[in-house]
């Protein structure tokens, strides 16, 4: 008890150290904290980290064009599922703390459990992307930069009408581009 009191007094009393060194310590502490924070953010954005729970879906990604293609550009989980803008990213990361509960409960710990939950997870992600106008697609696929003359007749028709007018967003048509689909029987357009 005495020790705690002593420590508290030390914290509340003005420091005897020079202001410069206190500032320097704060500065250094800041750098270390910020670095560690960012490292944590990076570490939870890697394929290995996602695979810990979502292993089956990471396997599915590997067969798609977003993973393996002629030009060697690759989109990993976080490129599409974690917002790139800092504030949005923090919001999503905080939401993800809920997913730790799911991990501890083993909600999708087996292939069967995952299949049973595939629709739920997919619908939630489609909804998220619809709400932010498919922002994660647009981080790479910018509508302004699209050359319709290079597109096939089918894509040109859709992109120059429904997408251009804002009536539809990417994910309305491009579902399951990086994963297998859930039961689509009650999904509009299927």
């Amino acid at each position: 008890m005495k020790l705690i009191l002593k420590f508290w007094r030390k914290l509340t009393a003005p420091s005897k150290a020079a202001v410069g060194s206190v500032l320097a310590m704060g500065f250094l502490g800041g750098i270390i904290f910020w670095g560690a924070f960012n490292m944590g953010m990076e570490a939870t954005n890697t394929e290995e980290f996602c695979s810990a729970c979502h292993a089956p879906i990471v396997k599915e990604l590997k067969e798609t064009i977003h993973y393996s293609n002629r030009s060697g550009v690759r989109a990993i989980c976080s490129d599409c599922h974690v917002p790139h803008k800092w504030t949005d990213k923090i919001v999503r990361k905080v939401q993800a703390s809920n997913e730790i509960v799911a991990f501890l409960m083993g909600t999708i710990s087996t292939q069967e459990k995952f299949e049973a939950r595939r629709k739920h997870l997919a619908v939630r992600e489609w909804q998220r992307m619809k709400e932010n106008d498919s922002q994660e697609c647009r981080n790479c696929h910018n509508f302004e930069y699209m050359d319709f003359s290079e597109q096939g007749p089918r894509s040109r028709k859709q992109h120059s009408t429904a997408l251009a007018s804002g009536e539809k967003t990417c994910v309305d048509c491009h579902k399951g581009i990086a994963h297998q689909l859930p039961d689509m029987s009650d999904v509009p357009g299927w």
Partner: protein, 155 residues
Amino acid sequence: MRKLLAALLTAGALFSVSVLATETAEIENVNNGGIASLRGITELDTTREADELKRVIKDRSPIDRDYVYQPPLVPHQTRHYEVSLNANKCLSCHSWKYAGEMGATKISVTHYQSREGQVLADVSASRYFCLQCHVTQVDATPLIENDFKRVDSLR
């Protein structure tokens, strides 16, 4: 103890050497008699260089049929179009519900019948896997000469 270990190790080494020896044994009688098949003259003990992969036609107008009752060919790419228990990507354009809106070819009415000819409300399960009959095309030259001619009505 040490002697036993040494004996075991030598036995192991001898065994692996003998395994290696049998694996690298030469295959005899590799001569195929100089007969050229569709893939050229290749001896059995040589691995032929793979052909270039053909590219699927990206997107073009419908391809004319060569005979009556031919399943229409697919004039576009179908890479990663899922056709599974959960989803059928082909039907999101070619089903009767969407064909008009999407400007796609409607699937034939025969696909809405059971084997016994009974009319069904949706695509028959036996017709569900589109790519079993309708196939994508590549720009490939025929391997052998072909003098097939279309029937008069299609000429």
